[in-house]
Structures are given as C-alpha cells and as structure tokens.
C-alpha cells in the first residue's frame, strides 16, 4: 500500500511537473507569438577557432512563422541553429515532450530548466534544454543538440523588447570539433618549417548584439524572396 501510494504521488507529481513544463513553454510561446515580424540591426562578434573575422554588421528580418533573412554588405557568420528554429519547434505542442528540471540562477535571474525531447524520429533536434525565467516567460539560456551539428548553447539577454520576448543580446557557444580544412588547400607548400598547429578549441563563441528593433511593422513577403 505504501509503495502504491508512493508511486501514485510520484506519477501525479510527474504529471504536474509535465503540466507545469508545458505551461511554462506555452507562456513563452504566447509571448513570442505577439511578434508578427521584426527588423533588427545585429552587430556580430565571432570568436571561433580557425576563423578570423572582425566584428560585422547585418540587418535581420523575421516574419511569422519561419521567414528569416540576414542582409549584410560584408560577410557575417551566424550559427546555423539558434535564431528561430526553437520558436518553430516549440510552437507545435504535439511534437515534443517537455519535462521540468531544476531551478538555477543564471546571471542573477532564477530560471527553471525545461527539457524538451522531440517525439518524432525525423526531427533534427535531438534535445533542447531551456532555462526559462518563469516570471517573465523569457528564455534565459538554451542548449540545442542536433543530429548533425552538435550542440549550440545560447545565452539570452533582454532589454526594452523583453515584452515581445526579443533579446538584446545573444551569445552562442558552438561545437567546433567537426571543423576540418580541405586537405588540398590546407597544405601550404610554401611553408618551409613544420609549424606547430594548435589544436582547435572545442568551442567557438558568437556574440550578437541586437539593436534598433522594429516590431510588427508589416514586413512584405517580398523581402524574403528577393535575391540579394
């Protein structure tokens, strides 16, 4: 009897926890869905092993549900995952299972860890860990693990657009283990000494500072279909 009661309590708690996790995510999604479109200026600083690039600037356009475009005069390096994929992923409640984890303070903000596991086999995302500020329904940190591209950990900072769930800064940590130079290009026949090659660090960091948001201005679809 005791055992049965213990199990029942755990099951109920689990159900409650699951319900809580879904609620938390639902509130985050609701907030994100208040944005139909936005334009923002992104200042990108990339610190990635085997890549040298100066800080660069781009304009980012977004329109629901998944229209996303980066326009820049120069070359801007952004992570493949991390801008809007999570939005689309979280929007479909039936495609994942969300389980609440511990509470952690991140950057002075109390957050709740929500583990999101896709239920479908075809999903590129294998696991998404979200540390969510439940008071403001804002994602403070995420760690997205994909099948082919390793893990990307993103830290979110919010400014005056917090009400829309739009961050003022994103810091991406990327797994660079997979980076390899093409052999035919890598061999520099003009190097006369055997130079010591430092092993590439395992993580690269891209810091994107987002300013001059223009939210819900009614962006035309043509922006996303025009060739640069």
């Amino acid at each position: 009897m005791k055992k049965f009661l213990t199990l029942l309590i755990i099951a109920i708690q689990f159900g409650v926890l699951a319900q809580d996790a879904n609620d938390i995510i639902s509130k985050v999604v609701t907030k994100l869905n208040t944005v139909n479109d936005y334009t923002v200026v992104a200042n990108v600083k990339a610190n990635i092993p085997m890549i040298k690039i100066l800080p660069s600037k781009a304009t980012i356009y977004f329109k629901q549900k998944d229209k996303f475009k980066v326009v820049s005069k120069g070359i801007v390096i952004l992570p493949k995952q991390g801008f809007t994929e999570i939005n689309g992923f979280l929007a479909n409640k039936n495609s994942y299972l969300a389980v609440a984890g511990d509470s952690t303070k991140i950057g002075g903000v109390m957050t709740k860890l929500i583990n999101v596991v896709p239920t479908g086999e075809n999903s590129e995302i294998v696991l998404a860990k979200l540390w969510i500020d439940t008071k403001r329904s804002l994602i403070i940190k995420s760690q997205i693990t994909t099948k082919t591209n390793g893990s990307v950990t993103t830290t979110y900072t919010y400014g005056d657009k917090a009400a829309f769930g739009l961050p003022s800064q994103l810091v991406f940590e990327i797994d660079v283990k997979a980076f390899k130079l093409p052999k035919s290009v890598a061999a520099d026949i003009n190097k006369t000494t055997a130079e010591k090659k430092t092993k590439p660090g395992k993580k690269g960091v891209i810091t994107v500072t987002l300013t001059d948001y223009k939210v819900n201005t009614g962006l035309s679809d043509a922006i996303f279909s025009k060739k640069k």
């Binding site: 990635i48 092993p49 085997m50 890549i51 040298k52 690039i53 100066l54 660069s56 781009a58 980066v70 326009v71 820049s72 005069k73 120069g74 070359i75 801007v76 390096i77 952004l78 992570p79 493949k80 995952q81 082919t148 591209n149 390793g150 990307v152 990327i174 797994d175 660079v176 997979a178 980076f179 390899k180 130079l181 093409p182 290009v185 890598a186 061999a187 520099d188 026949i189 003009n190 190097k191 006369t192 000494t193 055997a194 130079e195 090659k197 640069k228």
Partner: protein, 280 residues
C-alpha cells in the same frame, strides 16, 4: 646609351608576336575563370566552407569581385611564369639565333648596357603582364561581381577580410607578385645569355621552377636547409598579405631573398655576356 637601347628593346618586344601571345593567353584564362565563377562559383565556395557550414552560416556577398580576384591570382600565378619566360627567355638567345646580337655587339654600347637594357625591358613587360592581370582580376571582377568582404582559406583556417581593408593588400600583394615574376624574368634572361636558341632558356626556366617547387614541397629534412633560399619558396609570399595579422617580417624576408636572386642572376648574365665570344 642604356636608355636608347632600352627603348630599342621596348620596340622589339612590342613588335614580336609572342609578346601578345602571353597577353592574349592571360586575357583568355582570366575570362574563362570569370565565366566559370559566374556560372557556378558557389560550388567552389562550398568546397572551402563546407566543413564550417554544418554549424555556421556565411551570410553576405561571399562570391564577390574581391574573392574572384584572389582566386584568379592564386590560380594563374603558377602559369604566368611561363608567359613571362616565353618573352624574356628569348631576349638574348633569340638575337644570337637571329644573328642580330653580332650586329648589336659591334656598336659603341657596352655589353653590360646591352644586358641591362634587356633586363629593364623584360622587367617592364613583366610589370605590364602583372598590371594586366591585376586590372582583369580586380577591376573587371569587381565590376561584374561587385565588391565585398574577402574570405581566404589559409593553412591555419579561414580569414575574412573587410572590403575596406582589401585594396591595399591587393596592391602590396601585386607588388610582391611582380617581384616574384621579375625573378623568373631575370632567371630566363640569365639562361638566355648562355644559349644560342630561344627554346632552351624558356624550357630551362620552367624546369628550374618545377624542380625547385618540388624540392620545396618535399617534407624531407635533407632539403630543409636549402628550402628557405629557393626563390620558388617565396613566389607565393604575396599571399601573406591576406593573413591576419600580416606577417610583415616574413614577407620582408621573402622580398630580400627575391631581390638577392635578381641581383645575383643579373650579375651572372652580365658576367657571362661580357666574357662570351660572339661567333654566331
């Protein structure tokens, strides 16, 4: 007399059909590369960035005129030495074969001046080829593909250089590339002083370049001591201007080696030509 004969040498170079062969070949090659890049340049870029594109996206105009210019320079700098040697290797030995060296050597111009005027004219031709390459590679490419940041793959990774920071690199890079080609020109003229026909110096120049390049690429310790002094080792030093930070001391070293080669080869040619009995 040196200036007068240098002017003569210009006239001769401008009048020879083979001089235009080099310019025409260069124009054609650059045109083909530009056409190919216009048709399918993205696949070449993907080759370079594919490993990074699993986790990163490269936004912006990656395929731009600056990149095309860099690719052209990189591809053709191997082939242009032949186009240079084709003209400069003929400057002394071609005249020996034609018999005109006999006529020239009986004039009141010193043999040293004869050789130096050929060096100067050869250098001018090499400079013209370099500028022509630069014009096509940079100017025409930028007109067709526009400008933008330059993505360069070095042996230690990718370097992305901002558009505003590129022209001076190309400028200095072309200067060093010219010095490298000038070394080829000087070598072929020096070999020309030993020969009585045109083909010998041209073939010998290319053979030496190939041999030295192979020695430079072999990872064998027995060659380690001589590699730094082979001029072919420094022929691609123009590329160093596209690194970040620019290794100025290494580039200066390359410049010094190339300049020393030019001086030595010129001295050998002058010495040989002065001592030579002209029997043709």
């Amino acid at each position: 007399m040196l200036l007068k004969n240098t002017y003569n040498e210009f006239i001769k170079i401008l009048s020879k059909p083979r001089s235009y062969l080099g310019i025409g070949a260069l124009t054609l090659l650059v045109g083909i590369i530009i056409f190919a890049m216009k048709a399918d340049g993205r696949s070449i870029i993907s080759f370079v960035t594919s490993s990074f594109e699993q986790t990163l996206t490269f936004n912006g105009d990656v395929l731009n005129g600056n990149l095309i210019a860099f690719i052209i320079l990189q591809m053709l700098i191997v082939h242009i030495p032949l186009l240079v040697a084709l003209v400069t290797g003929d400057l002394i030995s071609g005249e020996a074969a034609m018999g005109t060296i006999r006529m020239l050597a009986t004039k009141p111009i010193s043999r040293t001046q004869i050789v130096l005027s050929k060096f100067i004219a050869g250098a001018m031709y090499t400079l013209f080829l370099t500028l022509w390459l630069g014009f096509f590679a940079l100017f025409v490419s930028r007109q067709i593909f526009g400008t933008g940041d330059l993505i360069v793959l070095n042996s230690d990774g990718l370097v992305i250089l901002q558009d505003a920071d590129i022209l001076w690199r190309f400028g200095l890079g072309f200067c060093v590339a010219f010095l490298a080609l000038l070394t080829v020109s000087t070598l072929s003229i020096a070999l020309s002083a030993f020969a009585e026909n045109s083909i010998g110096p041209i073939v010998s120049t290319m053979a030496i370049i190939i041999l030295f390049t192979i020695i430079g690429s072999l990872d064998v310790t027995v060659f380690d001591n001589i590699k730094p002094f082979l001029f072919t080792t420094h022929m691609a030093s123009w590329r160093s201007f596209f690194e970040d930070p620019v290794p100025f001391s290494a580039i200066m070293k390359s410049i010094v080696i190339l300049v020393v080669h030019n001086i030595l080869l010129a001295a050998i040619a002058v010495y040989k030509f002065n001592k030579k009995d002209i029997t043709s």
